[in-house]
């Protein structure tokens, strides 16, 4: 993708041309006013130079407020228009489209570790299919990073201990730059790579290549290895709430609040179980902070997600999870796991 000297980066996502349109509008505004001021100054300086013979009697008759109001009102109107345009576009940038491919990204000094839902993982490279919305689900192992693809006009900080996300839809096959935009230490400049946009068929072939274990399965292994299964999912075990059909549902907590069981909640419950205790249970779960890497936490969450019937909309009205209601662990994944991560292949 080497084009030598250029003034604009490639437009390779559905949002890129829309951002560029606003950019050009802003360029127009900036160019107009800069030139206006420039020529006004040059003209006035030359015309009213001290040696020139000019009429210099000033009579505003107290009407200068007309001028002042004008040059308050016009900039105000223009900036409000820019605000509205920018905010509208920003809303689209930050609102995740439904049905996007979920790709996990872990930022770490100084590399990007990426895992696709089918299991293939890569470092400092991101392969995505053309024409499909992709949602990056990101977290950092250490300091703040920022995932930046100039050709897609998207950027989002990657935070430690907190999930952030970013979406785009690639519209042009090719290889594009990937940068870390938030200064993160010695190797900040090395924390770059490339994004490869492929035809969907090629992407599918690429996914099939290479050894990989789908995150859902890796998560299940972890679930056993860390003996989560000794408490959770033993039908009617009174010590732990069930995890089946949990994801995306409201959970009533012991302090009376109700929260939604999303990724953030699940992550916190693994790392800091005492923070939000489900109503009716004792805070007996030990913390797993320091024992799981961010990727492993992702995998566990993917596994727990797979225990819910997707999409969550089908059981929106499901009651709050309570001790009595727990489903056998074996029963759920068969219907709940995403199609592409079927458990039957091992």
């Amino acid at each position: 993708m080497n084009h030598g000297f250029q003034l604009l980066p490639e437009q390779a996502s559905s949002i890129a041309s829309r951002v560029d349109a606003l950019y050009f509008f802003l360029l127009g505004i900036a160019g107009f006013f800069t030139l206006l001021i420039f020529f006004a100054i040059v003209f006035l300086v030359v015309y009213y130079r001290r040696s020139a013979i000019r009429d210099r009697t000033i009579s505003y008759n107290g009407r200068s407020w007309i001028l002042e109001t004008t040059w308050i009102a016009i900039p105000l109107a223009i900036t409000m228009a820019i605000f509205a345009w920018g905010a509208d576009l920003y809303f689209d940038l930050r609102t995740m489209p439904p049905g996007a491919i979920d790709i996990q990204v872990v930022g770490k000094q100084w590399m990007w570790k990426i895992q696709h839902p089918q299991g293939r993982s890569e470092i400092d490279q991101l392969h995505v299919p053309l024409g499909q919305p992709v949602r990056l689900h990101m977290v950092s192992e250490d300091v703040i990073h920022s995932f930046y693809i100039p050709a897609f006009r998207v950027k989002m900080d990657v935070l430690p201990d907190r999930y952030s996300s970013l979406w785009f839809e690639a519209t042009k096959p090719g290889t594009y730059n990937l940068f870390c935009a938030e200064y993160c230490g010695t190797g900040h400049a090395d924390m770059s790579g490339s994004v490869v946009v492929m035809q969907p068929a090629e992407y599918a072939a690429w996914l099939a290549g290479g050894e990989s274990q789908p995150p859902v399965m890796a998560g299940e292994e972890l679930f056993t290895r860390f003996r989560c299964n000794t408490c959770h999912f033993q039908g009617g075990q009174p010590r732990c709430p069930s995890l089946a059909n949990l994801f995306g549902q409201p959970v009533r907590l012991s302090d009376g609040r109700t929260v939604t069981a999303d990724e953030v909640y699940l992550r916190e419950s693994v790392l800091n179980p005492a923070a939000k205790v489900v109503a009716g249970f004792q805070p007996v779960m030990p913390t797993y902070q320091g024992q799981l890497s961010e990727e492993q936490i992702f995998q566990l969450i993917q596994y727990i997600k797979s225990l819910s019937i997707m999409p969550a909309a089908t059981n929106e009205t499901a009651p709050v999870v309570s001790p009595g209601q727990s489903t056998s662990v074996d029963a759920v994944p068969a219907q709940g796991a995403p199609a592409n991560s079927s458990k039957s292949n091992d």
Partner: protein, 541 residues
């Protein structure tokens, strides 16, 4: 001979002993001490810039190691922001001129003024020590958790240096506000104050209200780093975004600390060289206050991609759009002041017109960054770097140099060489644009900031920028040389070489120790330049 006698009683030759400088409470001497200090800091920060612009000539990181590069830009940022730009105009020109302009014998608290210079130097010494001892590599923004947990450099020492210097700013701001309120000469009503004083009043409000928050934020970083207390590091239970909120609550208004005084300088120079009343005095005065107030409500525009809530971002974007309006009002009013003026283009005027142009471009590119969706693309890229250099160098430094030339005869009693002044103003204007304009393009192309190596596509623009930087460097060395030269060989200045209005021009150059032989009484508005109905041959001043 009479000249010599008149000379014998001014603030400079009142006492030649070294300790009479170190223990002085005279605002004019303190201003000179500040001028020497910040000039030293400027060239330290500038040297770092020279090194990393050299590194960026080539895409590969081949001149310095990544660690070195990171320390260089941190040094550049910390020194330039806290030890040059923030103190520059307020502590040098403000200190010198504020009492003169309002007809006072000194600031309200002269000892406090000296104390703030010592605090400033102590902060500077600690910062320089932290650099000599190995430097810090966090960038001037000290983002957590990198700064608090992960960096292996002298972050604590550098943060302590900045922390200490903050108290110097607070004391200066406090002194200016009290002086403006209580020390005005008879007849000097609020709306007869020169706009320079208004600008410094607004700046001082920010000094007093924002700096303590920075102090406490740095204090918390030092606690976290020194004692492992988890306030910002999520691994220790803290929140890194909270740091960004606290930091930018100070640091965005700090941008206005840098540029508002410059606007004050320009508001003095333009009426003088256009021989015209300033257009829209009250609009300029109140727009300074508006900028100071709204400036406190826009900090979140640094955090559009940080993970703060989408709606918070929208509010901050809206407020940032609003703050553009008073800035635009100022630009239009300055331009309108030229209308029907009698304009001559001495060095200070060249700097001021340059200021208007560069500030306009800097301000307008600020709109790109305040427009949410575009900011997502350009934040943390060279676009931001270019934007704030247009404001800080194109704005603040041009204003400082313009003011320095304008009041140089008043401060030193000597005239600087005009031809050299014009030449270097031209060189700086050209070098500046060549350095920073290509960075806008680089930023939109997606080159992240704070990198010592980059992809090959960006090289042409980087070479342009580095070439511009070398021209800019020459531009800065020239005034240093000819201004020092003028101290000995420059023509002696009479009290009012520019035929300017304002109380500071009604006292000898350099002023006597107590500024005025008798307290002046003010009977007219500021900038009451006589109308020039008939074109007449103006004698070269």
């Amino acid at each position: 001979m009479i000249d010599q006698l008149a000379e014998s009683r001014n603030y400079l030759n009142d006492d030649y002993r070294f300790r009479s400088w170190l223990l002085t409470t005279d605002h004019k001497r303190i201003a000179i001490m500040y001028m020497i200090s910040i000039t030293l800091f400027f060239f330290v920060g500038g040297a770092a810039a020279v090194l990393f612009r050299l590194e960026l000539m080539t895409p590969k990181g081949d001149l310095v190691l990544a660690e070195t590069y990171n320390k260089l830009f941190t040094l550049h940022g910390v020194i330039m922001v806290w030890f040059f730009l923030i103190p520059s105009i307020p502590t040098v020109l403000g200190n010198f001129l504020l009492p003169l302009m309002i007809g006072a014998r000194d600031l309200a608290f002269p000892k406090l003024n000296l104390l703030s210079w010592y605090i400033f130097m102590l902060g500077g010494a600690v910062t320089v020590w932290s650099i000599v001892a190995g430097g810090a590599d966090t960038g001037w923004t000290f983002y957590t958790p990198y700064s608090s947990t992960y960096a292996n450099t002298n972050v604590i020492l550098m943060a302590v240096g900045v922390f200490i210097s903050g108290f110097s700013s607070i004391l200066t701001g406090l002194n200016f506000i009290v002086t403006t309120h209580t020390m005005r000469a008879p007849g000097m009503t609020w709306f007869r104050l020169p706009l320079f004083v208004w600008a410094h009043y607004a700046t001082s409000v920010i000094f007093v209200l924002a700096t303590p928050v920075l102090a406490i934020t740095l204090f918390l970083i030092v606690l976290e780093r020194g004692f492992g207390i988890g306030i910002f590091d999520p691994k220790l239970g803290g929140d890194p975004l909270l740091f960004q909120h606290l930091f930018w609550f100070y640091s965005h208004p700090a941008v206005y600390i840098m540029v508002l005084p410059s606007m004050g300088v320009v508001s003095e120079i333009i009426p003088c060289f256009a021989r015209n009343r300033i257009f829209g005095y009250k609009f300029i005065a109140f727009s300074s206050l508006a900028i100071a107030v709204i400036g406190f409500l826009v900090w979140g525009h640094h955090m559009f991609v940080s993970g703060q809530s989408m709606y918070a971002s929208m509010v901050f974007s809206f407020m940032s759009m609003l703050v553009a309006v008073p800035s635009a009002v100022k630009v239009f009013n300055w331009t309108a002041t030229l209308y029907k003026g009698s304009i001559s283009l001495e060095t200070p005027m060249l700097y001021s017109l340059g200021f208007i142009g560069l500030f306009t471009l800097g301000g307008l590119t600020g709109l790109f960054l305040a427009a949410l969706a575009v900011d997502v693309h350009v934040t943390d890229t060279y676009f931001v770097v270019a934007h704030f250099h247009y404001i800080m160098v194109g704005g603040a430094v041009m204003g400082y140099l313009g003011g320095l030339h304008f009041w140089w005869p008043k401060m030193t009693g000597r005239i600087y060489p005009e031809w050299w002044g014009r030449l270097s103003a031209g060189i700086i204007f050209f070098g500046f644009n060549l350095t920073f304009f290509p960075q806008f393009v680089l930023g939109y192309l997606g080159m992240p900031r704070r990198v010592h190596q980059y992809v090959d596509d960006f090289q042409v623009l980087n070479v342009m920028s580095s070439a511009g930087a070398s021209i800019l460097g020459v531009g800065y060395l020239l005034p240093l040389a000819y201004l020092i030269w003028s101290l000995r060989y420059g023509k002696r200045a009479d009290p009012n070489p520019w035929h300017a209005k304002g109380l500071e021009w009604q006292t000898p150059s350099p002023p006597p120790k107590l500024n005025f032989t008798q307290t002046p009484i003010v009977t007219e508005e500021a900038y009451n330049y006589p109308p020039a109905p008939a074109p007449k041959k103006q004698a070269m001043s």
